[in-house]
C-alpha cells in the first residue's frame, strides 16, 4: 500500500447489505416466542387521566397484557438528561401533550396488539394546553427583521423500534440509537438494572439526525414488558406516533438587527431568539449562537427566550440551533446587502471573521475565504443580477442566492479495538453508530491507512454496547473522535502483534527483540525475513491478535474550532403559479481532511436536502388543542427526488491538525447550516419578495 486510502472515493462497506436487505435493523430481529407491543397515545393536549377502560382490549384475541398508568410497568427516574423526556411513561396520570404514551398493549401478533389498542379508551380531566408561540419583538438597525421557523421533524426512514429479550436478569435489547452506551445508561436507571446486565445491539441505523439520541417511551416500556411477560417483545412506532412519541426541532421567532456603515462594515449584530420548549423535556435550542461565530462585527449580542409549551418533546435535530439561526442570520445579511446596494457575497467578505469574533483567538484552520471565491467561480455568481426579478427562463423567474455555513468542530474521547486476523484481514470495532453517515466505511478506511493494507481487508463492527466505548454519533464529532482512536488502536495492535511474534515459539521471530521487528503494509520484517501478519498468525496457529487504543477528549485551547462552507443556490419561481423550485445547488466546504469523498459528499448533500425541506416544504401545524394537524408523511412534506437538482459538493480538504493528527472535522450537520438561507435569498433575487416565515410555500409568493 503506497497510496493512503484517506480521501479516496470509497463505496460504503455495508452498502450491498443495506440495499439487499441483509442489514439487520432493530425491527428486523425476529426472536422465538416474541410478542408485540403497540402504544396507546393521549387524545387531549393537557390534563389528567381519570380512568381508562381496558376490558375490551384484554378480551381481544391474542392479548397478553394492557399496561396503563392504572396498571403500570414500574419504571424509575431516568436520572440526567439526554435530550429526551423528563419522566418515563405510565408512572403518573398526567397528560403533558397530545400524542403522549398513556398505554401499551402486548399481544401475540402486531395486528392483534394494534386492534386491541384501538379498544382502549381514556377519560380525561382536561386543561387548556399552552400552544401559542410568541413572536419575537422588533428591533432596530440598518436592517432589523423578524424571522419565523416551523416545527420540523427528523423522520428518519427507519421508524423507532425496540426488541427486548431477557435471560434471567440479563437484558438484550435491539433498539435504534445513535449510541448503544446511551441506551445502557438510560435503561439502567429506568429499569433499576445494573449496566453490566444490559446488552444493547444496534449495528445498523436507518437514519437518526438527533432523533435517536434520546431514548423515547417505547424503549423502557418494551424492556419492562418483556421482563414482566417473560418473553421477548417488539415495539415499532407507526409513522404517526413518530411525530409525537419522539421529539422534534422547536419552532422559533428570531429578530436579527444589523447596523452597518455605507461600505458594509457591520458595527453591531444583535440576534434575539424566541424558541418553543416542551414542558416534557429539558432541551432548549439556541439559534442565536450561530451569530457569535459567523461574521466579524463591532459588537455581537445574542439572547434566547424559551416559551414553555404543552407539546411533545423538543430535542436536538441536525445542527440544533444553527439550522434555524442561520436562516435568520443569512437572510438578514442578504437584506443588509439590499439596503446598502452591495453584492451579498462582497458584504460577507467585508465582514470576514479572521479570528473568533469578539477577540483575537485564532481559528485552528479556516479557509472560508477560499470557499467563497471557489464557489462563486464555479457557480457563476458574477452572472447574478443585483436587481431582483430581472432574469427569466420562459415563464420562470430565476434567482441566485448564497449563504455561509459554519458549525463547531470537536473531538471527544473514544476507545476502539483493532484486531488482526489470520486470514490477513483486520477488524476495527467500537460502540460507535453508523446512522447512514458512512462511519463504518470511515473505520475501514482509517484502519486500512493505519495498517497499510487494502480497505477491502478491513471491516468495521459498531453498535454493540459490549465493544470498547467509542464516541456516539452526534454533534458532527464521530469521525474526529473515533477516527483518531483508530490510529491509536492500530498502533497498539501492531505492538501486540510484534510481542506475539517474538514470544511465540513457532514464530520465525521468536526470541528477537521487539525493536528489531518492524511492521509495514501488513508485513513484519526482521533481518531478511518478511512475513505478512495473516501468514504469521496462521503459522503460529493463532486466530487473531487485538488491542484497544484510546484517544482522549480534545484539550487544546486557545483556538476556535469550526467547519465552514459556502452554499450557492439557484431557484426558479413560476410567474403564474409561484411554486419555487431549486434548480442548482453548490457547496464548497472547508471541513478538514475528508476521509471518504463519497460518503462525505452524501452527508453534505443530505444536509442540504434537509435544508431544502426546511426552506420550502416542512412544517408541522400545531392546533390550539395541542394536536399536530398534519402528522403523517402525506401532509408533512419532505423533499422527493423530483424536488432536487444536481448538487455539486467540493471539499477544500485542508487538514485541521490542531484538532487531531489526521486533521479531520465533522460533516454531519454542516450541510444544513445556511441551506435554507441560500434558498430564501435566491427566491428574493428571483421575485423581489422577501419571505421571512418558513416554509416558503407558493401561497407566500403568489
Amino acid at each position: 500500500m503506497s497510496t493512503s486510502p484517506i480521501g479516496s472515493s470509497t463505496s460504503r462497506v455495508d452498502g450491498v447489505l443495506k440495499v439487499t436487505g441483509g442489514a439487520k435493523y432493530a425491527a428486523d430481529n425476529m426472536l422465538t416466542n416474541m410478542a408485540y407491543g403497540y402504544l396507546v397515545t393521549s387524545t387531549v393536549g393537557k390534563g389528567t387521566i381519570s380512568a381508562m377502560t381496558t376490558s375490551g382490549a384484554l378480551a381481544s384475541p391474542g392479548v397478553l397484557a394492557v399496561y396503563t398508568p392504572f396498571n403500570p410497568l414500574k419504571l424509575y427516574a431516568y436520572g440526567g438528561d439526554e435530550n429526551d423526556e423528563f419522566t418515563p411513561p405510565l408512572q403518573d396520570k398526567n397528560v403533558r401533550y397530545r400524542g403522549q404514551v398513556i398505554g401499551m398493549v402486548v399481544a401475540e401478533t402486531f395486528e392483534q396488539a394494534r386492534d386491541a389498542a384501538a379498544l382502549v379508551t381514556a377519560t380525561y380531566s382536561t386543561q387548556t394546553p399552552v400552544t401559542a408561540m410568541a413572536k419575537s419583538a422588533s428591533g432596530s438597525g440598518t436592517v432589523s427583521e423578524v424571522y419565523n421557523t416551523s416545527i420540523v421533524h427528523h423522520h428518519a426512514m427507519e421508524p423507532h423500534a425496540t426488541v427486548a429479550s431477557w435471560s434471567g436478569t440479563h437484558l438484550t435489547i435491539y433498539t435504534a440509537t445513535q449510541g448503544t452506551p446511551l441506551v445502557v445508561s438510560r435503561l439502567s436507571h429506568a429499569l433499576g438494572v445494573s449496566s453490566a446486565n444490559i446488552h444493547v445491539v444496534n449495528p445498523y441505523v436507518g437514519g437518526a439526525f438527533g432523533g435517536k439520541w434520546g431514548n423515547w417511551a417505547h424503549t423502557p416500556l418494551t424492556a419492562a414488558a418483556a421482563q414482566a411477560l417473560g418473553r421477548p417483545v417488539k415495539t415499532v412506532l407507526t409513522r404517526e406516533q413518530v411525530f409525537t412519541v419522539v421529539g422534534h426541532r422547536p419552532n422559533t421567532s428570531q429578530t436579527v438587527s444589523l447596523t452597518a456603515n455605507s461600505s458594509g462594515t457591520i458595527s453591531a449584530l444583535k440576534h434575539i431568539a424566541t424558541v418553543s420548549k416542551s414542558n416534557s423535556s429539558n432541551f432548549t435550542e439556541n439559534p442565536a449562537s450561530v451569530s457569535k461565530s459567523t461574521y466579524a462585527a463591532g459588537s455581537i449580542s445574542t439572547a434566547q427566550t424559551p416559551v414553555s409549551m404543552d407539546i411533545p418533546a423538543t430535542t436536538i435535530m441536525r445542527a440544533p440551533g444553527e439550522a434555524n439561526g442561520s436562516f435568520a442570520l443569512e437572510s438578514a445579511i442578504d437584506e443588509l446587502a439590499v439596503a446598502l446596494n452591495m453584492d451579498p457575497l462582497a458584504l460577507r467578505q467585508k465582514n470576514y471573521a479572521k479570528t473568533v469574533p469578539g477577540g483575537s483567538t485564532p481559528w485552528s484552520s479556516k479557509h472560508l475565504a477560499e470557499c467563497y471565491t471557489t464557489g462563486a467561480g464555479a457557480f457563476g455568481w458574477s452572472q447574478r443580477s443585483a436587481k431582483p426579478g430581472q432574469v427569466t427562463n420562459g415563464d420562470w423567474l430565476v434567482g441566485l442566492g448564497m449563504a455561509t455555513a459554519a458549525y463547531p468542530a470537536g473531538r471527544s474521547a473514544s476507545t476502539l479495538m483493532v484486531r488482526l486476523q489470520n486470514d490477513g484481514t483486520a477488524v476495527v470495532s467500537g460502540t460507535g453508530s453508523d446512522a447512514g453517515t458512512g462511519q463504518a466505511t470511515v473505520f475501514a478506511i482509517l484502519g486500512a491507512a493505519a495498517l497499510g493494507i487494502p480497505v477491502a481487508q478491513v471491516s468495521a463492527e459498531l453498535g454493540d454496547s459490549t465493544l470498547p466505548t467509542a464516541a456516539n454519533a452526534g454533534g458532527s464529532g464521530s469521525t474526529s473522535s473515533n477516527g483518531t482512536a483508530v490510529n491509536v488502536a492500530a498502533q497498539a495492535a501492531i505492538s501486540a502483534l510484534i510481542q506475539l511474534a517474538i514470544s511465540n515459539t513457532s514464530s520465525p521471530f521468536h526470541g528477537k527483540s521487539a525493536s528489531s521487528v518492524t511492521y509495514k503494509n501488513g508485513n513484519l520484517t526482521s533481518g531478511s525475513t518478511t512475513i505478512s501478519f495473516g501468514a504469521l498468525l496462521t503459522k503460529i496457529n493463532v486466530a487473531g491478535v487485538q488491542a484497544t487504543g484510546t484517544s482522549a477528549k480534545n484539550t487544546t485551547s486557545g483556538y476556535g474550532f469550526m467547519s465552514f462552507g459556502a452554499i450557492f443556490c439557484e431557484v426558479q419561481v413560476n410567474k403564474w403559479t409561484a411554486e419555487p423550485r431549486v434548480t442548482r445547488l453548490l457547496a464548497v466546504m472547508d471541513a478538514g481532511t475528508i476521509v471518504d469523498a463519497k460518503t462525505a459528499r452524501s452527508q453534505i448533500m443530505g444536509g442540504m436536502i434537509m435544508g431544502i425541506g426546511q426552506a420550502l416544504l416542512e412544517g408541522t401545524i400545531l392546533e390550539s388543542d395541542g394536536r399536530f394537524a398534519n402528522a403523517n408523511l402525506a401532509s408533512y412534506l419532505v423533499p422527493v427526488n423530483a424536488d432536487l437538482p444536481h448538487i455539486d459538493v467540493t471539499f477544500l480538504n485542508y487538514p485541521d491538525t490542531i484538532l487531531n493528527p489526521i486533521g479531520m472535522r465533522g460533516i454531519g450537520e454542516l450541510g444544513i447550516v445556511g441551506a435554507a438561507g441560500a434558498v430564501a435569498n435566491a427566491i428574493y433575487n428571483a421575485t423581489g419578495k422577501r419571505v421571512r416565515d418558513l416554509p416558503i410555500t407558493l401561497d407566500k409568493l403568489l
Partner: protein, 325 residues
C-alpha cells in the same frame, strides 16, 4: 382494523351478487386498505374483484372504453390514450407514485377518499366519516381545502386527478348491480357535500363501476393537465387544470376546462369554456375567462390563495398548451 369477511369474485355477476350494504370492493387496495388500517373504513365484507375481466382499453365509435380494473400505469402508457387524450395520460402520471400507479385501478381512482387530515384521524370529528360529529376543518388547518362546492359541513377536496380530466372530457362511468347496468355522466356521479358529506356519489349499495366511457372529442388531441403542488411529485394538487382546446388559426373555437384541488367534487367550468370560445388565444383573454372560474368561491382562513391560484393554473395551462405567453 375491524374484522371483515373476505371473498374473491371471478365474474361481475358473482361480485355484485356478493355485495350489499357494508361491503366494499377491493381492487388495487391503495386507498381501501390504508383507510381500514386507520379504522376510517370498516367494511363487513371485502370482495376482491381483481380477477374480473375488466382491464381492457378499447376504442370504437362510442369513444374510448377503459375497464375499471385497468391499472393507472397501464392506462397512462396506452397509445390510444396518449394519442387521443393526452390530458388523461398526464393526469394519471401526475398522480401518486409509480408503485401506487402500478397497483391502483381506474375504478378505485374515481372512488378514492379525500386526503383531509381530519377525515383520516379517528380521534377527531368529521362529518364525512361520522355524520353529524362536526367539521374541524372549518376553523382548523384548511390550507388544502376546497373553495368550490363547500358547505359548513365539509370542505374536503376530491383528490383524484383523473376524475378532473375525465370531467373535462364529459366522460361517464358504467355501473352494474344486481338490478342491471346503467351509465352515469361523471358530472352527475359526484355529489357535493351539502349537509351529507358522507354521501360522495350516486352509487347504490353494492353497485360496481365496470368501466369508463370517454366520448369522442377529436380536438382532445390538443389537451393537457397541469397540477400545482408544493412538492414536485407524490403529492395531491393545491390546484390543477385539465384543458382541451380546439383552434382555428389563432382563434379558440371550443374549449373544455375542469379544475381540481379546489372543489369538493371534480369541477367543470362551463362559464370559462364559454368565455374562451371565439376568442383569440391571448393571455389577456385567458385571464378574463379564468376569472369566471371562481364564481361562488368560499374561502376559509388558510385557503384564500386558491382563488388566485386556480385562475393562474388555468391561464398557465392554456399558455403552455397553446404556446402563448
Amino acid at each position: 382494523m375491524q374484522g371483515f369477511d373476505y371473498t374473491a369474485a371471478t365474474t361481475v355477476t358473482q361480485a355484485v351478487g356478493a355485495a350489499g350494504t357494508g361491503s366494499a370492493y377491493l381492487a388495487g387496495g391503495t386507498t381501501l386498505v390504508d383507510l381500514m388500517k386507520l379504522d376510517v373504513m370498516g367494511p363487513s365484507t371485502v370482495i376482491d374483484i381483481n380477477a374480473l375481466p375488466l382491464t381492457a382499453v378499447t376504442t370504437d365509435s362510442a369513444g374510448l372504453h377503459i375497464g375499471a380494473l385497468a391499472r393507472m400505469s397501464d392506462v397512462a402508457a396506452n397509445t390510444q390514450v396518449t394519442s387521443a387524450f393526452p390530458v388523461l395520460s398526464q393526469a394519471l402520471l401526475a398522480s401518486a407514485s409509480p408503485q401506487i400507479r402500478n397497483m391502483a385501478s381506474i375504478g378505485g381512482n374515481l372512488l378514492q377518499r379525500t386526503r383531509c387530515d381530519y377525515f383520516r384521524d379517528v380521534t377527531v370529528s368529521c362529518n364525512k366519516r361520522s355524520p353529524g360529529s362536526g367539521c374541524p376543518a372549518q376553523t382548523g388547518a384548511n390550507r388544502g381545502h376546497a373553495i368550490l362546492g363547500t358547505s359548513t359541513s365539509c370542505a374536503a377536496t376530491h383528490p383524484s386527478d383523473l376524475a378532473v380530466a375525465l370531467t373535462a372530457l364529459g366522460a361517464s362511468v358504467q355501473l352494474q348491480s344486481g338490478s342491471g347496468t346503467r351509465q352515469v355522466a361523471l358530472s352527475d356521479f359526484y355529489v357535493e357535500p351539502g349537509t351529507t358529506p358522507n354521501v360522495e356519489n350516486t352509487l347504490q349499495a353494492g353497485e360496481l363501476i365496470t368501466g369508463v366511457l370517454v366520448p369522442p372529442l377529436p380536438w382532445a388531441t390538443n389537451s393537457s393537465y397541469l397540477k400545482i403542488r408544493d412538492r414536485q411529485s407524490y403529492e395531491f394538487a393545491l390546484s390543477s387544470a385539465a384543458i382541451a382546446v380546439e383552434m382555428s388559426g389563432s382563434t379558440i373555437t371550443a374549449a373544455r376546462v375542469a379544475v381540481g384541488g379546489v372543489g369538493t367534487v371534480p369541477w367543470r367550468l362551463p362559464a370559462v369554456e364559454a368565455a374562451l370560445q371565439g376568442q383569440t388565444a391571448t393571455v389577456a383573454n385567458f385571464t378574463t375567462a379564468a376569472a369566471k372560474a371562481v364564481t361562488g368561491a368560499k374561502t376559509l382562513a388558510d385557503n384564500a390563495f386558491k382563488v388566485t391560484l386556480v385562475q393562474r393554473a388555468i391561464i398557465r395551462a392554456l399558455s403552455e398548451l397553446l404556446g402563448v405567453s
